[in-house]
């Protein structure tokens, strides 16, 4: 019945979050994979962008006790003016200092895991999935970047009778995206901007392939919800949102009320930037006002397929 899979295949995973409640129906376990080909300037998971492990170093928690200095083979930890400094150019994210740190100031984001390793965690909540209608969600990064691992993971979940969902970016051609979607019971798909130029400015990538994938997914009949993260200066104006709503309604033939979620901006990822000395641009916006959000929701409602005359 289920597709064959390789339990020993290795992927790069940076988090497995149990009892996820916002990533699909019911209670879910969300598997976050590393690696993303895009570079959205508001990225909430900057640690996910690189496929390699990333060292988080929380300076607030560091007491400069120096225990990390001795264990670092790269000599990336040094004292300067009595304070500990981490030289990122030398760090290879081996994780030796993470274990040595008594203050939990360091964590390693990302580690190699086999399909089986991941499944060992996922199956723990099998009964919760059953009782809530939940399952496993694969997220990223962009899980397409580890498409082979993703496909194997999804097949392994189906083999365990666990329902699957993915959160995908849609940046890869259908030959890749389609293989993933085929194994999903449910898809979350990001629509960030209808204007390809703007899309490229904000994310580093144009949107033609993405929109094409959106059409193809709808054709497969797999249940899908499109999501638009509302980013100030990028897409949270009426025109940008209206374009997305109309795309969903007119080009995809779906009711935006049921198939499009507008996600208010949040700052949850902010401190991650400091922890990894992230050099990329990161804005510090305020969340949209309730009035603004309500205005966009009203817009969506007014353009709904089931809008009564």
């Amino acid at each position: 019945m289920s597709a064959p899979f390789d339990p020993n295949l290795v992927g790069q995973v940076f988090n497995i979050q149990r009892y996820s409640t916002k990533d699909g129906p019911g209670v879910r376990t969300t598997v976050f994979l590393k690696g993303c080909p895009m570079h959205c300037f508001w990225c909430q998971n900057p640690e996910s962008q690189s496929i390699k492990p990333v060292l988080f170093y929380k300076q607030d928690s560091c007491t400069s006790c120096g225990r990390c200095v001795g264990v670092c083979k790269q000599e990336a930890n040094r004292f300067k003016d009595g304070h500990l400094v981490l030289d990122r150019s030398l760090c290879v994210a081996c994780g030796a200092c993470v274990e040595a740190c008594p203050n939990k100031a360091r964590t390693l984001e990302g580690k190699p895991m086999t399909v089986q390793d991941v499944m060992d965690v996922v199956v723990r909540d099998r009964r919760l999935y059953k009782n809530s209608g939940g399952g496993m969600t694969v997220s990223g990064g962009a899980c397409e970047m580890q498409a082979n691992f993703t496909v194997n993971l999804l097949a392994a979940a189906h083999d365990e009778n666990i329902r699957t969902a993915v959160e995908i970016e849609g940046f890869y051609p259908w030959s890749v995206t389609g293989r993933i979607v085929e194994l999903c019971d449910f898809v979350y798909f990001d629509l960030k901007n209808m204007d390809s130029e703007a899309h490229k400015r904000g994310t580093g990538a144009p949107n033609e392939t993405i929109l094409e994938n959106a059409r193809r997914i709808v054709e497969t009949g797999t249940p899908v919800i499109f999501r638009t993260p509302l980013i100030p200066t990028f897409n949270d104006d009426r025109d940008s949102i209206k374009a997305i709503i109309l795309f969903v309604r007119d080009e995809l033939g779906l009711d935006p009320m049921e198939h499009l979620e507008l996600l208010p901006y949040n700052n949850l990822g902010e401190n991650k930037y400091d922890k990894m000395d992230f050099k990329g641009f990161h804005p510090r916006f305020a969340r949209q006002s309730d009035e603004h959000l309500e205005d966009l929701e009203t817009l969506k409602r007014n353009l709904s397929l089931h809008q009564s005359a």
Partner: protein, 806 residues
Amino acid sequence: MLDYKKYEGQTRGELIWSRLNPLRHTAKMSMARAQLITDGYKEYEGYSLYRKRGLSVRKIMREIPIFIDDDQLLVGDFSATQMSPEWYPDLAASWVEDYIDKYGWKGSGTFYEFTGPEQAEQARAIAQYWHNIGGKEMWIKYMGPEQEEFEAKIGEAGGYLTNTVSEMYAEKAWNVPDCARMITTGARGFIEEIDNKLANLTVLTDEDYRAHEFYLALRYELEGVIDYAHRYAALAREKAAVERDPQRKVELEEIARVCDRVPEYPAETFQEALQSFFFAVLMVYWDTRTYGMGMGRMDQFLYPTFKKDIERGYIDEKYAQDLLECFRCKIMEKRQFWPDVMVPSVSAESHFHNVVLGGVDPKTGKDATNRLSYLFLDAATKVRTPHPTLSVRWHANIDEKFMDRALEVVAMGMGFPAFFGDDTTIQYLLERGYTLEEARNYAIGGCVLHQVPGKQSSVWPIVQNYGKMLEMTLNNGFNWYSQEQIGPKTGNFLEMKTYDEFIEAYRKQCEYWAQIAANSNRQCRIEHLESFPDIAMSCFVDDCIDRGKVCSLGGAAHNDNTQYIVPVGVQDLGNNLYVLKNQIFVDNPICSKETLLDAIHKNWEGYEDLQAKMIAMPKFGNDIPEVDELVNWGYKFIEDIWFKIPSAYGSHFEVAPHSIGFHAGTGAKCSALPDGRVAWTAMSDGAVSPRQGTDTNGPAAVMCSAGCVDQVDLFGVLFNMRFTPQSLADKSGRDKLKALIETYFHDMGGKHVQFNVMSKKQMIEAKEHPLEHQDLIVRVAGYSAYWADLSTTIQDELIARSELTI
């Protein structure tokens, strides 16, 4: 249709409570009961103890001052002065004299004060009368000076190695007498039953003699409660005569009519049924205080009269809810006069009066939820008091909408309803010889003790800290807190070669303290024969009247799970055993035993690195089978020890892990432990909640760990989880919680779970500004309490408990 006052802006209960609430902080002691029981004992001196008590309790109900509160629909009071505690010198007296000596009439500041120096002197005189004949005082005499000294030493030094030295020792508590029988039988019915017994009783033996005296005593108390009700009827009539508000006049006349009829005769209306039940509770209260007494399945036993009244149009649902709100206010009027030593662990308002909703029908096994189940929830959303606590019995076919409503109430952040799983609980009861029908009818005594109403006697638990036992084993019986050898020498830790050797020593240490505690428990239980028999309660427990025995002295049909041990810190035990097993008794230990012992003795000072490593070891609550299994092992180990020890009346002790508030009190005298624990801090709370702040994998993992413990043979298994308010604000969030509950009960064999819904920020703020957060209710191991009333230790502990977000 009965006419009644309608309220605008706030409900009847809200109005009543808004008047009572401020009295929580200003009410002073009442000496009414203490004086009346003392006068009664003097007046009836020469009668046998039972009869003397029966007559004295009747005297209390005939003479204690009564009042009827404005807007209240129920009558009967827990005190002669509203919101004041009454004192039971017949249970324990000397401590009050000590209290006055220590603090004067103004009290300790965090506790009740007397009304003035005269009342304090009155209390002193009462205490002196009971100096030799108070329950605790007689028990101490029975023990003899040697044991008394030993027990005092344990109490002081060991800090709940065993809590046999309790000022409230062996109170008549924690069970669920079936007070609802008053509704259907009426006091006259019981009197007739007793008269039949007396007519057929020929006194040939001392047992017959005791039966005879018990019958007379109970008969007096039943007469007393009839008279008590008639006094309220007369007062209500008096008030009605001068009442100007026509609707209130009708209400007062109805109160008078109801009290003329019940509890003397079987109840016919809903109000009569509730009032009759409440009088039954009060009859027990005036006798033996009803601490932790379960109210039973109130939505079930009140339903027939409710249904009838609604169908015939005598009352509407609004009036029924008014009555339930009135009931909540009444229960809140009950205040405890705790001994000073108890304050850090238990709030003065903790009555543990559990009202059970939902569950299954005993005969058919079908869902038993009804309209009243909903109304009880609704009443609690209006009168937002911590008591009485509501509990919902979950089963696979429970009314979904009722669960939705229950979770809405949870989301309001009152700490209840708690949820109980029928599957495993019913298995437990069947295993202990209850019929299927009885087992399906279980209710809750105290916070989590599943009992069949009217089948079990009152109890008093033993508390033991199994983390402290570990400390004693590591130190060869030497108590690190008091720096003296008080336990048996079970072996030098440094010379132990294997983990098994250590476990053997641990077993010996635990067995020793188990025997000490069990011996004490048996003694005080039997000794109550001479001082504090539970006469009124025996009216509502099978087969007391048949056997002619009070329920705690051979009367109860089931004596099995009425003696129990509350093991504290078993989660800590698991965490520590993990370290010992995997890091110490291995080829390449993390450190030498000498180092470990020194680090613990120095409370990790100078050993911070080692402590950090120990803290980083796997901890219970993260779904790590290796450590979770050790907690499971810990409970089996404790069952093994205790199931073998005989309790009074030839039964055994049950193991009931729910920590109450004792995880803080017991932890305060427990040293550092190998898992990185800091000395003198709280132990883990509840039975299967992770150690504060050590669970990092979210609620699903916590639940898997909790579910790893085989709970069938445990007598109530307390499990606290905390969620942020946001996580339960919408139905989608609550649906997920519903799935969590179902999974825990149905798939994992869990017995109990309750939810604290608060943000950490809120709690820190609440600690800093208690006065601004007086309406906050929080869960502390099985009961709700007002935040501001909690000790700072418990506040800190609650803040430290990991915040789980949905």
